[in-house]
Assembly symmetry: C2
Homo-oligomer: 179 residues x 2
C-alpha cells in the first residue's frame, strides 16, 4: 500500500495511538487502513461413498487436485460462499452438512473454512478454473497430487472422521519455519 484509498495522499506505516500494531495511516485525512486475513470457503462434496475432486486449471498448483473453494465475498455467509464456490468450480449442487475444518495460514493471511456437504444429485460440470472433476473413493485419493496443505488436512480428517463418525470441527494450521 502506497496511497490512501480515501484521499489519494501518500500513506505512512506507523502505530496509531492506542494500538500496538503498525498500520498504513494517512497523514492528510487520518484514515487508518487495517489489513486483515481473508477467508477461503469450500466443500468436500460427497455423493454416496465418493467425494468429488477438481483438477486445477489455474496457477498456483495448475494440474493438482483440490476441493472446490475460493475467497468469501462481501454480503454472503460462509455457507453461501462455500455453496457458490462449489457450484462455480465443480457444477455440484450441495447441501451443507456441517463445518468440517477451520485451517489457518498465518503467513499468507488466509483462513480456510471447509464444509462437509452432500451432493443433491450426481451431476457435475467443471468450471472455468477447473480442468476436470471426478469422483474418488477414499482409497483412490491422489495424495501426492493434492494442491494445498489445507485441502490435504481436510481430506485426511474426512477419512479419520468416517471411522469415528463424530460431528466435530477440526482445527488446523500451517506454520512455515524458515531456516
Amino acid at each position: 500500500m502506497n496511497y490512501c484509498s480515501n484521499c489519494g495522499n501518500s500513506v505512512e506505516l506507523k502505530i496509531p495511538d492506542g494500538d500496538n500494531v503498525a498500520r498504513f495511516v494517512c497523514p492528510k485525512c487520518g484514515q487508518i487502513h487495517y489489513q486483515n486475513p481473508r477467508m477461503v470457503v469450500g466443500c468436500i462434496p460427497v455423493w454416496q461413498d465418493k467425494i468429488l475432486l477438481c483438477k486445477r486449471a489455474i496457477e498456483p498448483k495448475y494440474g493438482k487436485w483440490t476441493i472446490p473453494a475460493g475467497f468469501l465475498e462481501n454480503n454472503e455467509t460462509v455457507e453461501q460462499g462455500a455453496i457458490r464456490e462449489t457450484m462455480e468450480e465443480s457444477g455440484a449442487d450441495v447441501t451443507i452438512v456441517r463445518l468440517h475444518v477451520l485451517y489457518s495460514l498465518p503467513q499468507v493471511n488466509q483462513v480456510y473454512a471447509i464444509f462437509l456437504a452432500h451432493m443433491k444429485t450426481a451431476d457435475f460440470d467443471a468450471g472455468d478454473e477447473t480442468l476436470e472433476c471426478r469422483f474418488y473413493e477414499t482409497h483412490e485419493i491422489p495424495w501426492d497430487k493434492i494442491a494445498f496443505t489445507a485441502v490435504h488436512f481436510s481430506l485426511e480428517k474426512y477419512i479419520e472422521n468416517l471411522k469415528t463418525n463424530d460431528t466435530q470441527t477440526y482445527l488446523g494450521k500451517l506454520i512455515r519455519k524458515y531456516e
Copy 2:
C-alpha cells in the same frame, strides 16, 4: 474507496474480465482491489462452572456485556487471535478447548469464530476497552444486556451444549430484513 492504493490514480467500479462481481479497479496500473469479509475471533472463558463476561467501555454497545473478541490480525492463526483478544480485553489466560461457533454477519461483512476456552487461573483484569469483567453462572447471564447477536447466539449454544455435552461447532447467521 476513491483512489488506487498502489499508484494513487482514481479507481473505477467495474466487473473485471472473467469475474462476475463489481470491484474497484485502477484504470492506470490495472490493480483490482478485492474487498472481503473480516473475521472476529474470541472466546467464552470458562472457570469451573462460571464464564467470564466483559462490560464494554467503547462504542458500539457501550455498557453492554460481551465475551472477549476482536478482529483477527494478519500473521496469526484464529486460535492465536482468540487467545490474544481474550488477554487484551479481560486479562484472562486461556487454553482453547474447541471451536464453538462460526457466525456470519453478511450485511456488515464479518464472520465470528468463537472458541470455548478454559481459564488457566481465576485471574482477570479488565483491559482498556472493558469497564469491568465478572464471572457469571449460566442462570445469571444478563440476556437483555448482551452486546451483539453473535455473542447472544454463542452463549445460548453454550448452555444448550452443557446439556448435550457433544463437541459440535454451531453455525449461525444474522440476516437483517429491511421493509
